[in-house]
Symmetry: C2
């Protein structure tokens, strides 16, 4: 599909203004060197190129077919192409799932036709692909109205219209797109498939994608791992950040597992950089094509406007970047070059004097980047239309002599300077905060690389399971046994079927104890009057057992009551919550969060796809809003972080080795300086067929 | 200063490339119609205009003087101008507070010179001002390298370099700046002064400012009130959002009152729209010049890309905007015009068909805006370079026939369309999320107008007080009396000096009670072992009294121990915190927040400047992250919201009527469905001289 030596255009038109005429026109215009076979019974040739009446008449099965026939003719065309030996077809035709149920049915038929005839398909309802290196302009996108310029960036988009817009924006920033692929309805070939293939192309250094929905998260993880191994940053914009939450189950637990937060967690976990929107995506793409990842999170801000400097420092702090004051030696060196009314603290104000003495600017950047605490630099400028060459020269000279990355934030930069800097591989961003956001992306990627290299995660080989039709509760004692097998620490707990055995167990545990109803039919124990805490002697235990069993029968007279669970009471400590979910896209995922209002009001939880490595678990904790609690806020000692991390990793192993478990909640888990211990657990498994 | 009939340029150069030559050159080039008096002993004329050897030789005292002499000559020049009767001078010269202590001293001398000679000054260290209506290009800013184009926007900036960049960005978006003022070091005239004056100009409809620091918050509030009364939106970018926090006192309470959060609260309170950065400022300016404020927060998103629609819907939800499904009647009407493979839900997908049938687009916008739940519309487009005139025509036609506002989000829009839309007063924004952010600004301003019109706040006449050198604790009983006078509800509390009186008081209150140490020298009572809660009988009270008085003496042997406060225990309920602070810029401000981890870990508090109206208090509550608690989360009933609001307003009255009180903490305040009650209070007042 990506490197065809011959292309058939089935349904090609002579009219270059028509959707069906544009690919032929573009391919010819851009000098596509392979063979072109227009197919249309109306013509004998298009623009001098012989035109064939039908697929069967083609002299060979082309490497790629573009299908632009009416929807009703698509299946027959695909079958004919398959028979001819064409390995893959791009289908522009629409009228499929985008129109509703009838279209979904058509897609199933189409896929079946393709499979039966041994041909892969991209689309339908897409606008094609571009391989700009080999002049494969196999698209009708408006973006190709001007010939595409090849470059080190691959961009794949599920959306045609938005994708076209993003390509055009990339062009106007001077970003060269080696590949652009629109996968439309993704009946067969997905954009993840396409990017996985492209990741092998040495001409490509940055991968980017716009995603609307994801069927197979495992594929995405595998792509992320491949990109990480190849040292090619992967930047993804995915919409549905909020709507996803709304679609999620109405139940509170359901809403916590809202797929977008899982998506976000998995991206972080695997070093994928998520861009909020098209603008941020292009800022990041631009930064990644020009800069290697910084070795740390210290940045220098070099400016001739104090205000812009403060704005950038504000944003840097918000994004977890450091803006360190340079070392005394570095400040001394800066003092030697910067006018006395400037500033050598960070932000570093070089004043407007550098127009008279360009060395002020170039030396300041070099000196700042010599500071061991500074990993990356932003240089802020505005206008300077009379000094384009001078400034471009300064930055080119700096680029040639420094190892650490820097980017230029230039408001209303002159076009001539922009052109020179782009040619020199220097990233220029035209808005103050966005420049800092881009640097933060570089830093996050650098951190992800360090995690990856320090502790390479196992290669994901997970295959997704269908979601079960029905789930049932696992009894507390069986759940406890399964969890203990995986070294998950739980409070001592035993099942009692009578008040007397309850008392015996409690005597053995020592007081105080808790007693909870045990029934597969009662999930909300407190609501059923089925929980008693802090029982201080055998009398109380026996009485409580009798009472809650009675209360449970009143609450649900059909419930199967198995008895009560007697538990040792744990020392109160900061509360965490842990869980396992089956995400429809990613399969088994682990959740961690802070308990109480953090989880209930703020929904402050983080997700990771199983398996989770310790450094990935650490990253999940760093993503929590209330993470200060873990460090020992409110006069409490810090919690045992290694134990928390082990719990996350153990739960992820548990999730992988128990694919039948669809949900697990450990809530609360008490975490103090000496470890973690779960005091309540609820496990659901697939119902047997 | 803004409308001079004559301008002297003291230190004018013949060289238009020099800072000192630029204002003369610009004024002549732009056709300034008043008299121009260059002053420089080296010339007899500049470009044919007579040049005067010194200020004394001028034929009249000009309305405005531009001073570009070396710093050492500034004071003499200002004195001479004052004597000549010139009312105001703009001082470009630098070498003042921006260089440090020596410069601060020079500024004081300069201000004194100006006052002694009856002349106002703007600057020093600024780059001048522009009144583009009257061609007063009294600046050396690079922005004026191209003649300024007048328009309905005034922009004032403390920063010269950043301000210049913002002006240039405004120009390239086609935003006409009627005024641009850079106030530099603001020794005398501030940008607030300038904007207050400009607010009266009927040609100006939008006011905007870039601020680095604020000396007099009362002035800003007065400007905000004036702008609100004149129905002119005021948009402000202020830097130091984070650094401010770092500068704040190290103590936890201190950090809560970090000035930027106060600034942010006061802006919201008074209907000022805060822009994060220069880009957002210009998006908002552009939206406000084209659109009236919507009547509500319902928006329609009209698009030909499903993905862009979801991205905008995500962002809308994040910003508290509604994206309602249209009414059945409206959907039916939409169905009549939109192709069947489009969507009439919201986002409304009109498909690409509108290029063939423009009515699809124009009718869809009009029909959507007819929906009573839709107050504003965003139309999303990309490229369409072959259809500029058609699309511009559609939008112009729509603009002429709808009352409700709409904006166009157009990625990589063709220049010709942009020009036509600008001329027609239609706002175009070139990035997807930023378009939603701009609409959110319109909506917030509409909400602020509704609050203002429903309940006009009293005109602020507050004058700022100097911060006191030293503050001392007010005794709990006096504090209680002062607070009760203002109807602030507190738990019953009385001072006891002996264990026996403590027991008597407790008997009278009924049990349980709390006993707390009372000493002006012990602020951290718990730390001093000075608090006992839940005492259930007289014995316990007497014993506790004895013990805590002893503990307090051990804790601080020099402390004056006045006795203990005996308090009735309140029923536990959700905890709030309230407070009063003296902000260095805004004077008395009220703080409200949720207690416990919300305030301690998340610093989730909101500020408002006194006086606070009920609708402003409501807005403060809406700004809290944990506001769900107020609505009765975690199985609790909702709190008595009117009582919370009354508490905020009463505290603001208290702050105004007690200027000697520099700090008050009510923490915790229990809030349930039947009211609020403070169970602990700490009040600090200025120490007497």
């Amino acid at each position: 599909m990506l490197h065809p030596k011959s292309i058939a255009i089935v349904g090609a038109s002579r009219d270059a203004n028509k959707l069906s005429g544009r690919p032929f026109h573009f391919l010819r215009r851009d000098g596509y060197a392979g063979k072109l076979y227009p197919v249309n019974p109306k013509y004998t040739d298009i623009d001098g190129v012989p035109c064939f009446p039908d697929v069967a008449s083609l002299p060979e099965g082309p490497d790629l077919a573009i299908v632009v026939v009416p929807q009703t003719l698509v299946n027959a065309t695909i079958a004919a192409l398959g028979r001819k030996g064409t390995p893959v077809a791009v289908i522009f035709s629409s009228g499929y799932s985008e129109i509703g149920a009838e279209g979904v049915k058509r897609e199933q038929d189409l896929l079946e036709t393709a499979r039966n005839n041994g041909i892969r398909i991209c689309g339908p309802n897409n606008l094609g692909l571009i391989n700009a290196f080999e002049h494969v302009t196999a698209t009708f996108s408006q973006y190709a109205d001007t010939p595409p310029i090849a470059g080190p960036v691959a961009f794949a988009s599920q959306s045609g219209a938005f994708g076209t817009g993003i390509c055009a924006l990339a062009r106007s920033r001077g970003i060269g797109l080696g590949y652009f692929i629109n996968t439309g309805n993704q009946v067969d070939i997905t954009l993840i498939d396409a990017l996985s293939e492209i990741a092998d192309d040495p001409r490509i250094t940055v991968l980017s994608a716009y995603i609307e929905g994801l069927r197979d998260g495992a594929e995405l993880i595998q792509l992320a791992q491949k990109a990480m191994a190849a040292e090619k940053p992967l930047i993804i914009t995915k919409v549905g950040r909020k709507a996803a939450g709304a679609r999620a189950a109405a139940s509170h637990t359901g809403s916590l597992a809202g797929e977008d937060r899982v998506f976000d967690g998995v991206l972080r976990q695997h070093g994928v950089i998520r861009a909020r929107n098209e603008e941020q995506m292009l800022d990041l793409v631009s930064a990644f094509t020009c800069c290697r990842a910084p070795g740390g999170n210290g940045i220098a801000i070099i400016t001739q406007s104090g205000g812009a400097g403060v704005l950038m420092a504000d944003r840097a702090e918000e994004l977890g970047l450091e803006v360190p004051v340079p070392t005394p030696e570095i400040r001394e060196k800066l003092q030697d070059v910067i006018p006395s009314f400037g500033s050598t603290a960070n932000p570093i104000d070089v004043t407007g004097q550098f127009l008279a003495e360009p060395k002020i600017l170039s030396e300041s950047i070099k000196i700042a980047l010599d500071d061991p605490g500074i990993d990356c630099c932003i240089v802020w400028l505005q206008l300077m239309h009379g000094h384009s060459d001078l400034l471009a020269g300064v930055f080119k000279e700096v680029k040639a002599s420094v190892d650490k990355p820097f980017i230029v934030c230039w408001l209303e930069a002159p076009e001539t300077a922009l052109r020179q800097l782009r040619e020199a591989g220097i990233c220029v961003i035209g808005a103050t905060e966005r420049a800092v956001d881009a640097v933060a992306g570089l830093v996050r990627y650098g951190q992800a690389r360090a995690r990856y290299e320090g502790q390479p995660p196992p290669i994901s080989t997970h295959k997704n399971r269908q979601e079960p039709e029905k789930a049932i509760a696992v009894s507390s004692m069986i759940a406890a046994e399964l969890l203990r097998d995986m070294e998950i620490p739980l409070v001592s707990a035993e099942l009692a079927t009578t008040p007397d055995t309850a008392r015996e167990i409690a005597d053995r545990f020592g007081y105080p104890v808790a007693v909870k109803i045990e029934s597969p039919d009662i999930l909300h124990k407190t609501e059923a009057g089925g929980v008693r805490l802090g029982l201080r002697d055998g009398e109380a235990v026996a009485a409580a057992t009798k009472e809650i069993m009675a209360a449970a029968r009143t609450y649900n007279s059909n419930a199967k009551i198995e008895g009560v669970i007697v538990q040792r009471m744990a020392e109160p400590a900061p509360e965490l919550v842990f869980g396992i979910r089956r995400d429809p896209a990613f399969g088994p995922v682990v959740m961690v969060g802070l308990g109480g209002i953090f989880v209930e009001i703020l929904e402050d939880v983080a997700f990771g796809a199983a398996p989770v490595t310790p450094s990935q678990a650490e990253l999940m904790l760093d993503g929590l809003q209330g993470r200060a609690i873990l460090d020992g806020a409110r006069g409490k000692p810090p919690v045992d972080r290694p134990a928390v991390i082990k719990m996350i990793c153990d739960l992820s192993r548990f999730a992988l080795s128990h694919p039948e478990i669809v949900e697990l909640d450990l809530n609360p888990v008490f975490a103090d300086g000496n470890g973690v211990i779960a005091v309540d657990w609820m496990m659901m498994r697939e119902a047997p067929e």
